[in-house]
Symmetry: C2
Subunit: 119 residues, 2 copies
């Protein structure tokens, strides 16, 4: 059976923000576009990190494509730190260690997209 | 030979904005993350449309994942119009007709991600 998908149109705030556990601090995730919408190749998620919060320091066998929507912070990758701000873009290859920290006073918001991999 | 890719970190404004032709009006595209960076599954592009400009009304056999960064406008899809604003999210399935128009006075900016498909 072929399922026909239609255009989905929401605001990101319509999606429930879920708490990110395991190694994160004050971080939530919204799954904005997923395979349930018919998106079979990649998923769009929105993260929010409170001041002084962070995502886990980890690595995994899929890549990230990131766009910073609001706020500022640092990425820690392979022992080095890089500052980032609104409008910055990251490609983080598969198996590269990474962590996002909010070093500002306001909420840090970014998109982080991941593949649905078959390889 | 296996090419090792490293984290890429830029600001979207670092990328040259190229004019979109064929059916578009006052629209530019920036290719922010592509297969040249090691992104083999999907590409991140940023579009800017001036007031009263638009993307082509078209359809194609790949999907779009869209996030509205700034501005407002309408999407035309299958003869219907939907208004959108900053923070809105679209999933446009493969083969669904679509067009983005800037109906505001300010620049419309959005991300539009597409798959590198093998199917």
């Amino acid at each position: 059976m072929v399922t026909m998908y239609k255009m989905k149109h929401i605001n990101y705030k319509d999606v429930k923000a879920e708490r990110v556990e395991e190694g994160a601090k004050d971080t939530t995730i919204r799954w904005l576009i997923t395979s349930k919408d018919g998106a079979n190749h990649f998923a769009m998620r929105e993260f929010e990190i409170k001041s002084k919060g962070y995502t886990p320091l980890h690595k995994h066998d899929w890549e990230h494509e990131v766009f910073i929507l609001e706020g500022k912070g640092i990425v820690i990758s392979n022992g080095k730190e890089e500052r980032f701000k609104k409008g910055d873009v990251f490609f983080i290859p598969s198996m590269e260690e990474h962590q996002f920290k909010n070093t500002g006073k306001k909420m840090l918001k970014f998109l982080c997209l991941i593949p649905y991999k078959e390889d």
